[in-house]
């Protein structure tokens, strides 16, 4: 039977080895097995974006991957952004701009913005809006989120 598999992977620079049921989604593995509960789980069909993490550097839905598929992969979750007590510039900008209220969408938005800014270093507001169109926020109305991301790009530029 192939209903369980051993996987090895790196998450935020730390190596893990684990025996996982093959039908466990990656987001459930991160939260339930590794106790990395920063990544949130929302709609579980790829629409809301709350579970977005970086898989080998690319932003993806961790609810639409199986944990076994991450065997050998290098993952980065929201817990990997800050360096010790030092928040990542994106996190600081979100805080400064009040880009979150309940915080449910925040980890997915941060990881989305992380790849977005890596690819588009001085984006227009319209590009930012398109870039975050795959992440649903029900509190802020998006304006402060867009501002926070623009802030970071201007700081860096």
């Amino acid at each position: 039977m192939t209903t369980e598999r051993k996987i090895r992977l790196t998450v935020n620079g730390k190596a893990y080895e684990s025996l996982v049921p093959v039908r466990m989604t990656l987001v459930d593995f991160l939260r339930g097995e590794l106790d990395l509960t920063g990544t949130h789980v929302g709609c579980e069909h790829g629409v809301c974006g709350a579970c977005t993490i970086l898989v080998d550097g690319s932003a993806m839905r961790s609810c639409l991957m199986l944990a076994v598929q991450a065997d050998g992969a290098n993952l980065m979750t929201v817990e990997g952004l800050a360096e010790g007590p030092e928040l990542h510039p994106l996190q600081r900008a979100f805080q400064r701009n009040h880009a979150l209220q309940c915080g449910f969408c925040t980890p997915g938005l941060l990881m989305t913005a992380y790849e977005f800014l890596r690819d588009t270093s001085s984006p227009t507001e319209e590009q930012v809006r398109e870039g975050i169109s795959g992440n649903i926020c029900r509190c802020t109305g998006y304006a402060p989120i867009v501002q926070a991301i623009l802030d970071v790009s201007q700081e860096a530029g």
């Binding site: 690319s58 169109s133 795959g134």
Partner: protein
């Protein structure tokens, strides 16, 4: 646990995958990018007994020039790779134009060309573009290989010519020779949503701007993307002026018999498909980079 129980295989070679497919057939599902299959499994709309994950097979992901000038694209090529490919932009610009409309970049980072074609959502962009580009599909099973033309590949709503034990390995996009121009248009409520309806167009013009050949595809307006023959015929030999474009749009609307659903009514789809065709034709006629506006 979200998905129902299944047995999981992650073959390293196409042959191994074909053997498994031959063995399990209807009970098995191929897992490519998972951006359509995983939502269905998470909601338990699909409960495969066996999942055959083809992500570890080397060689299924590539974008390569063909000796005859066309392009070969491996089934596991991520949509995002197509979006970024200079070779695709050069050889099949219609594809480059359409890819950014697929979902969001996080979806395109994982979703594959083959998955989109095999899934064959009537509103999907890649099937519409492949139909317009006269793409050929290479299918393999343990019994052998065959090639299917785009016009024979899309059969019905979410149904293609793929047999349960077949794997789509790559597509071949023929070279387009001559002065071709491209247009791609769709409407949706929000960025990244599936199109309510859309159109892809290609025009080949002679030096005087007379249309030698045209291709028009409507999508999201029936079970599969559809070539609009009456409109194509109307444009051939014309100068594709405003009247010709309006007539093509009318012929398209007339030819369609779409469905109503929660996203849009049949009447809306029928009318707006014509509008999308007209706009895609206008887009195709815009001066291209490095060309005089005159």
């Amino acid at each position: 646990m979200k998905p129902a129980r299944f047995d999981y295989y992650s073959p390293d070679s196409p042959n191994e995958a074909l053997e498994l497919l031959g063995q399990y057939g209807d009970d098995a599902k191929i897992l490519a990018g998972g951006q359509s299959l995983m939502p269905m499994m998470n909601m338990r709309l699909v409960r495969p007994k066996v999942v055959i994950d083809i992500n570890r097979i080397a060689g299924l992901s590539h974008i390569s020039p063909r000796p005859d000038g066309g392009l070969a694209v491996g089934a596991m090529t991520r949509q995002r790779e197509l979006e970024r490919s200079a070779l695709v932009l050069e050889t099949a610009p219609l594809l480059s134009l359409a890819i950014p409309y697929i979902g969001h970049f996080q979806i395109r980072n994982r979703g594959t060309v083959g998955g989109s074609l095999a899934h064959s959502d009537p509103a999907a962009e890649i099937p519409a573009v492949c139909l317009t580009l006269d793409t050929e599909f290479e299918l393999a099973s343990s019994a052998g290989e065959r090639t299917v033309k785009a016009e024979d590949f899309f059969l019905n709503h979410l149904t293609t010519a793929l047999e349960p034990a077949e794997l789509l390995t790559q597509i071949r996009i023929p070279q387009t020779v001559g002065n071709w121009r491209w247009g791609f248009q769709e409407v949706c409520r929000r960025d990244g949503d599936f199109a309510l309806v859309g159109a892809a167009t290609m025009l080949r013009l002679d030096d005087r701007g007379i249309c030698l050949e045209s291709r028009i595809t409507a999508f999201g307006a029936g079970g599969t993307p559809m070539r609009m023959n009456a409109a194509e015929n109307h444009l051939s030999g014309s100068s594709v002026n405003a009247d010709d474009r309006s007539e093509a749009a009318r012929l398209v609307s007339d030819a369609l018999d779409p469905i109503s659903d929660i996203h849009a009514s049949a009447k809306y789809r029928q009318d707006v498909a014509g509008v999308m065709v007209r706009r895609a034709l206008e887009q195709a006629l815009l001066p291209m980079e490095g060309e005089d506006a005159a």
